[in-house]
């Protein structure tokens, strides 16, 4: 008996009733006339602004096109806000008031069918207006400056908002069962969304004397559209007053309500507000729809069977998980990173790192000395407390370096984890810090590697006992002759100390990231020194620990983003773009 392909009866009935007679025509014509007049007005305003503030080499056509486009989208949104709730606020209550509710409910029609039919009618009405307005909006193509994707995005957002507002109307209609209170309640909610949020935003800003948090505006459809269409950097009054002096007739206000803030230094942008708006609206729509399906039922309202309760539990859990994933710390990237990190096991690239086997089996010893008559020091395996350690020792006047090297020749993942661990004891060291060039530490770890382009590099880490020099200014706190030095790591003198480095790959700038480790060298340098190493390991691991990043899905921490050439986010580039954003500098390991 179930015929899944049959059309929703309520939809057909409503369409027959609603589209009959002159009302639909008149309303559509009125809306189009309004949009047309507004478009023309926007064109005149934009033309005037462009002529008066001409400058900065910004083409007028594109700016006019963008002004007209954005202005029309906003007027369409005003129309949606004005009609969407009223299309559904009488949907269920009207059935009660016309005494048709009982007849409708005496049929086997599901309450969800009734609601979906009513919603579909409302949406189709809103879509009719929007689609009829598309040719008007596409006039902005004449002037250029608007991409099709912008238009599609605006259309989708408007339809989505229409759905949410229709559901709000439907919910109140089912709740109150009378049209007047339902209409009042729907428009009150909408007014809170549109005006209430801006009011609170303003109050909070005034009280705190600083830019209020933008999430206050998340419920505001106008803010959402503004954040979707308007580039917060290039439309900001500051940029325009410097750049071209043109801010168009609407963009100042739009920039203000889009809640956008950017870091003037890096031009970094937070995640746009509409991401949050769409999520909240989607949740609200589903929740109100589910409650409405119960409100519409004539009997057994909110008496759910076990399966329905399971659905409710699933919905609640699903919303929480979705919120965490979309806006919280459970973003898919972070989950994947977490999985990758936890599924990977660190592997040690160094053989004979504990020196159990004879030293020569894996390590080559080499020394150098400033004076020919002095030794470059000795590397001696020593057994102490049941373990083998390697002693680097030298006594002399001139510079010397004593080292052991192991060739590795292993690839490392560029987005992975590379860590060096060393257990050492500095018995004696007669230089302040690491000497006058910072290249004579009691222990230095050097990595020779190839980067992605195959260029050779050397990464160096020095460990010292931090003896304070008399004329400390003369002694650098990092190696001055090395290619990629790290700040020195202090170790306590004359006792065993294990140093675990942070992720080496994060300390190297992206242009010189290693692809292949060639060799590792442990070296002691200076004049007279004695350093013992019990263990050295070079650990490599897939993935990174997922503790980094914004726990609020990027809404709090702005990330650097390219700014558009114009006001609209993805506008066609008719001019060479503004100077590129400075590349993010690597954060040093502290």
């Amino acid at each position: 008996m179930k015929r899944p392909l049959s059309l929703n009866p309520v939809l057909i009935k409503e369409l027959r009733g609603r589209m009959r007679g002159p009302r639909a025509y008149l309303f559509l014509s009125g809306t189009l006339v309004l949009l047309g007049l507004a478009g023309y007005g926007l064109y005149r305003l934009a033309l005037f602004s462009a002529q008066s503030f001409f400058g900065g080499g910004v083409p007028q056509g594109a700016l006019i096109g963008q002004s007209v486009f954005v202005g029309l989208v906003f007027i369409a949104l005003v129309v949606i806000c004005a009609i969407a709730p009223s299309l559904t606020a009488g949907a269920i209550s009207g059935e009660h008031e016309r005494k048709t509710y009982d007849m409708l409910m005496a049929t086997p029609l599901r309450s969800s069918s009734v609601l979906l039919g009513k919603l579909a009618v409302s949406l189709s009405y809103a879509a009719l207006i929007l689609i009829a307005a598309v040719p008007m909006v596409s006039l902005s193509y004449v002037f250029g400056g608007v991409a099709t994707i912008d238009m599609l995005q605006a259309l989708l957002l408007l339809v989505g908002f229409a759905l949410t507002f229709s559901t709000i109307g439907l919910f109140f209609s089912a709740l109150f069962r009378r049209t007047t209170p339902a209409v009042l309640a729907s428009y009150t909610v909408l007014a809170i969304f549109v005006f209430g949020t801006v009011f609170v935003y303003g109050i909070v800003g005034t009280i705190n004397q600083q830019s209020p948090p933008s999430w206050i505006l998340a419920l505001n459809p106008f803010s959402a559209i503004a954040s979707a269409l308007v580039n917060p950097v290039s439309s900001s009054p500051t940029v325009f007053s410097i750049g071209g002096g043109f801010s168009g007739p609407v963009f100042g206000v739009l920039w203000l309500i889009s809640g956008a803030s950017y870091d003037p230094a890096t031009l970094a942008l937070p995640r746009p507000l509409w991401h949050l708006t769409v999520g909240i609206y989607a949740w609200l729509t589903i929740a109100l729809y589910l409650v409405s399906t119960q409100l519409v039922k004539p009997v057994r309202r909110f008496r759910l069977r076990r399966r329905a309760w399971a659905m409710v539990a699933l919905f609640v859990a699903g919303s929480i998980v979705a919120a965490l994933m979309l806006y919280g710390p459970w973003s898919p990237e972070r989950i994947l990173a977490w999985l990758r990190w936890n599924l990977s096991t660190p592997s040690n690239l160094i053989a004979n790192g504990k020196f159990d086997a004879p030293l020569e089996s894996a390590w080559q010893v080499s020394t150098e000395s400033e004076h020919d008559y002095e030794s470059g020091g000795e590397v001696t395996p020593v057994t102490e407390d049941g373990r083998t350690l390697v002693r680097f020792s030298r006594t002399g006047e001139g510079h010397a370096e004593t080292r052991i090297t192991q060739s590795i020749d292993r690839a490392v993942p560029a987005d992975g984890w590379l860590q060096v661990r060393v257990t050492l004891r500095v018995q004696s060291d007669n230089l302040y810090l690491c000497g006058i060039f910072g290249s004579e530490c009691p222990l230095m770890i050097k990595l020779n590697y190839e980067d992605v382009a195959g260029r050779p590099h050397e990464w160096m880490l020095g460990l010292n006992t931090e003896t304070v020099p008399l004329d400390f200014v003369a002694y650098p706190e990092t190696c001055t002759t090395c290619e990629r030095p790290r700040p020195f790591v202090p170790v306590p003198p004359k006792e065993w100390y294990t140093y675990d480095s942070p992720n080496i790959l994060e300390s190297i700038s992206p242009d010189a990231l290693p692809r292949r480790i060639v060799s590792i060298t442990l070296a002691a340098g200076g004049h007279t020194y004695e350093t013992e190493v019990a263990e050295v390991a070079l650990l490599v691991r897939e993935g990174r620990p997922p503790d980094s990043g914004d726990a609020f899905g990027g809404f709090l921490t702005p990330t650097p983003a390219p700014i558009g050439p114009f006001i609209i986010n993805r506008a066609i580039q008719v001019l060479p773009p503004l100077p590129p954003t400075p590349a993010p500098t690597a954060t040093p390991i502290s």
């Binding site: 009935k13 016309r98 009982d102 007849m103 005496a106 086997p108």
Partner: protein
């Protein structure tokens, strides 16, 4: 109790706040019955019918349809039951055939059957010529018939009709009554509510009388009469002077003997009727149809000039008034 009833309620109760609209109602409607559900306004008829149609939740009690208890599966119930509400509305901007087509779609009727069904139903309720009229343009009687047609869209076994004749002129009432007889003849179980007993008494196979949410009597009309020992009111016109006429009737009643240990009829009462010849009398008569015939035979045998002998039409009203409390019946 082996017979499966089309509809049975067990202690069906509905409260509105403190008001008991329906009070432990035990109703039994056999299959194929035309059940007259009668009670004064506000007695709980509509509440009961809405509960039977699955539009209102009982506060307590059970509804059994075709021997199955209806607990949560109201949707299955709705395929079996056609419901016509007492106050019904029509959608705006809708044509008559669209109206029926809409409900046919609600019952998920296949396209092919929908077309023919709409025409058949319009034919049944005599609205074929109004097929393409706007629903709002129909007269009250036509709308009522259209509403009845909507309840028949899915060819239900059971029809619940809430005051289908209210607000109709006498001609439309007769038409509605004929329609109901036709439906009953089709084998449907029909429950018709009304606040006017005589309207239903003629055609109902069964009657249930409800007062203040309680079923005060149910069964066939004869059974109810019998149970209440309620006589029917006989009206006689005898072409004689008053004393002779009274004497003739007394003798005839006396000759009839006692019925159930009581006199067959009450003392005759003279009813003033100046427009006609002879004497008009009324007696309350306790016997059945055979005894009524016997009474007439006795009268005729005694040579009484009986000009008129009929059952007073307001006897049902009296019965109704007697069943429902004085003052509340309208």
């Amino acid at each position: 109790m082996s017979q499966v009833h089309a509809i049975e309620t067990r202690d069906l109760t509905r409260r509105y706040g403190r008001v008991l609209a329906v009070d432990h109602l035990n109703l039994q409607v056999p299959r194929g019955a035309l059940f007259g559900f009668i009670g004064p306004n506000g007695a709980g008829k509509t509440t009961t019918l809405r509960m039977l149609a699955g539009l209102l939740e009982p506060s307590s009690g059970e509804v059994w349809v075709n021997g199955q208890r209806i607990d949560h599966d109201w949707r299955a119930l709705r395929q079996v039951i056609g419901y016509m509400p007492d106050f019904f509305g029509v959608y705006q901007d809708m044509l008559v055939w669209e109206y029926l087509d809409f409900f046919a779609r609600c019952y998920q009727m296949p396209v092919a059957r929908r077309r023919t069904m709409v025409d058949e139903l319009l034919d049944l309720v005599n609205l074929s010529d109004k097929r393409d009229a706007n629903v709002q343009a129909l007269s009250r009687g036509m709308q009522q018939r259209l509403c009845l047609a909507h309840a028949l869209v899915h060819d239900p076994q059971i029809l619940l009709l809430d005051e289908p004749a209210s607000g109709l002129d006498p001609r439309a009432r007769v038409e509605m009554r004929e329609l109901l007889k036709e439906l009953a003849a089709m084998g449907k179980t029909i429950i018709v509510s009304s606040h006017i007993l005589p309207e239903l008494a003629e055609m109902s196979t069964q009657v249930g009388i409800i007062e203040k949410g309680k079923l005060v009597a149910s069964g066939s009309l004869a059974e109810i009469r019998h149970k209440l020992r309620a006589g029917r009111m006989l009206r006689l016109r005898i072409l004689a002077e008053e004393p002779q006429a009274l004497e003739a009737v007394r003798q005839a009643v006396g000759a009839l003997g006692a019925v159930d240990g009581r006199p067959a009829a009450s003392e005759p009462v003279v009813v003033p009727d100046y427009s006609r010849l002879g004497t008009s009398l009324e007696v309350e008569f306790a016997g059945d149809d055979h005894e009524v015939a016997a009474l007439l035979a006795h009268l005729v045998a005694r040579g009484a000039p009986v000009a008129d002998f009929h059952e007073a039409s307001n006897a049902l009203e009296d019965l109704f008034l007697r069943l429902t409390e004085p003052g509340t019946a309208s």
